[in-house]
Symmetry: C2
Subunit: 371 residues, 2 copies
Amino acid sequence: MAPWKAARVGDHIDQIDTPALVLELDAFERNMSRLQDAVSSAGVRLRPHAKSHKCPEIALRQIQMGAVGICCQKVSEAAVFVDAGISDILITNQVVGEKKVAHALDLAARARIGVLVDHEDQISAFARASAERQIPIDIYLEIDVGMGRCGVVSIERAVAMAQQIDAAPYLNFMGLQCYHGSAQHYRLPEERQQAITAVCAKAAAAKAAIEGVGIQVERISGAGTGSVMLESHSKLFNEVQAGSYILMDRDYATNQRDPNDLPFEHALFVKTAVLSHPSANRAVVDAGLKASSVDSGMPVVWKRTDAKYLKASDEHGVLELAPDSTLGLGDYLLLVPGHCDPTVNLYDELIAIRGDRVEAIWPVAARGALL
Amino acid sequence: MAPWKAARVGDHIDQIDTPALVLELDAFERNMSRLQDAVSSAGVRLRPHAKSHKCPEIALRQIQMGAVGICCQKVSEAAVFVDAGISDILITNQVVGEKKVAHALDLAARARIGVLVDHEDQISAFARASAERQIPIDIYLEIDVGMGRCGVVSIERAVAMAQQIDAAPYLNFMGLQCYHGSAQHYRLPEERQQAITAVCAKAAAAKAAIEGVGIQVERISGAGTGSVMLESHSKLFNEVQAGSYILMDRDYATNQRDPNDLPFEHALFVKTAVLSHPSANRAVVDAGLKASSVDSGMPVVWKRTDAKYLKASDEHGVLELAPDSTLGLGDYLLLVPGHCDPTVNLYDELIAIRGDRVEAIWPVAARGALL
């Protein structure tokens, strides 16, 4: 990491060195309360996903506002949040391998921890290790509700796996993980509605079959920022897992909204400056693909119509300038990243601003926690 | 970062936790000596680019083998290498803004430092600050040799800028930066040859014009892994800057080689394991786009024909399996990343293996050094 800091608390936004990751606190707080209020009104638990922000300061604020805990995607990521005092974490991923199972149980001895399973061998591994160490852990059965990534496909197999979990003394069968990741990015509200209707049908069928053999399905959890109010109003899901809603990237903003969708605002920006201005219609900024992840497309220039971010190389971003552009060498602008999760994961710190002042600097403590 | 390590020195490769970044030392060392020998034989200086590896342990080995110094892309990245004892660094980028100029001069007081310019205002800023602090610094004029990113386009302007540099007492005008980034990835040898012929014509014209006003152009520097032997044999370039050659990603391997191109080998891998195996033809591994950058396409599975990496989400990679695939839950495989530079930048450590044992663990010390 850089041997010096991009900013100090109290700095004016003009003084923040570039490129830097900037969190606009007013918009962030509005996003945070907007979803918490809406989900609470629907009588549903909010367990926001921390893979988007990787920042304990944010997780603590989400919980203070009413979240029941957080989601993580990796055991080592969860460990960072347990160390920071978060006491209830669902790892929304399969945890495979002796080392990883042991680390998950280490955490389960210190906090309430859940993991997903979608294979009998994962259940046996956790059943054995949890019994040996006498550490209980929550288990959620992941159902493939249409995404075609992880998750059990056959209902018969899901029922048998629920029984296998139920029979293991230190495994708490909590319920179902029913997440449809691709549906989050379907552009039209009716496409998302249709996908989540199908998700609910699959989730309901799995729940009925498992409860049919006498095993209670306490929790149905899932959803992301693109569909969260659909699951919240489904009368089936009782927990939702959106993550990006607090930050909002360019990709999510491309979704067309209908009145059911909450008006989340962009709160995450990459501050970048012009390092080269070789011709009237071109400027080059110091934020390339190591500063703003391009996996979901290029970032967009925030609140300027005279510059368009055309392409990224490792450390350069090429802007096309309008003929009347006033953007000059050394000038800065803000970019809305194409995809917030992998962009946040490039930085060691989030520079939290209120108005035009740096109010706080928060470590992205779980950045690079891949294991 | 993760609160525990993926591996320890002496571990068998089977024991390395996943996902992890693995450097195969034998292939790495062959790549390193292969280019050093070829460039030295051509009578040209090798100044390898450290933006690809961000690792002082690698830079020190490159210099021990004959490199004249290294390139960096950011001032803060260069600072990490100066701290590690590297004494000659060319920052192949424009350095703009009072803070950045001051940091560059701090480094120039401790090591030989060069920076690029392509605008009169950059020269004035360095002229003023270097004179004030009486710290000399090397200046290279970047010429746009066809890439259309940074660099001076007009020869007249280049000459005037060389004079401006020459007139500043603490600025050493060293010569020209003539890098064509996109040409590195032209797939056919004749396309690369054609592009570098054009590069050389532009570089030669700029050199002649600047020397025509009595200013010596000591250095013409540039090239990348895709074209490095073309510049090396150009009789015009006297320094080359390839970086990826030691690691070799999927994208560079897609270039068709001709006999002039050196047979660099893949030396950088992401070790990943199967965390879900929901159906006979699909497995999901624990390396997604936070573990292997997808900006230049998906990673490829190394030395296995029964599995193809289809798509990445943040923490998942979906593999399509052949009907006879034996890949099971918990099994691991190696991926060749699509693009090495941003992939290395995701990790805190490089796990260096020889044969099937971990020989060393090297910090990616300049990871995230964006400023």
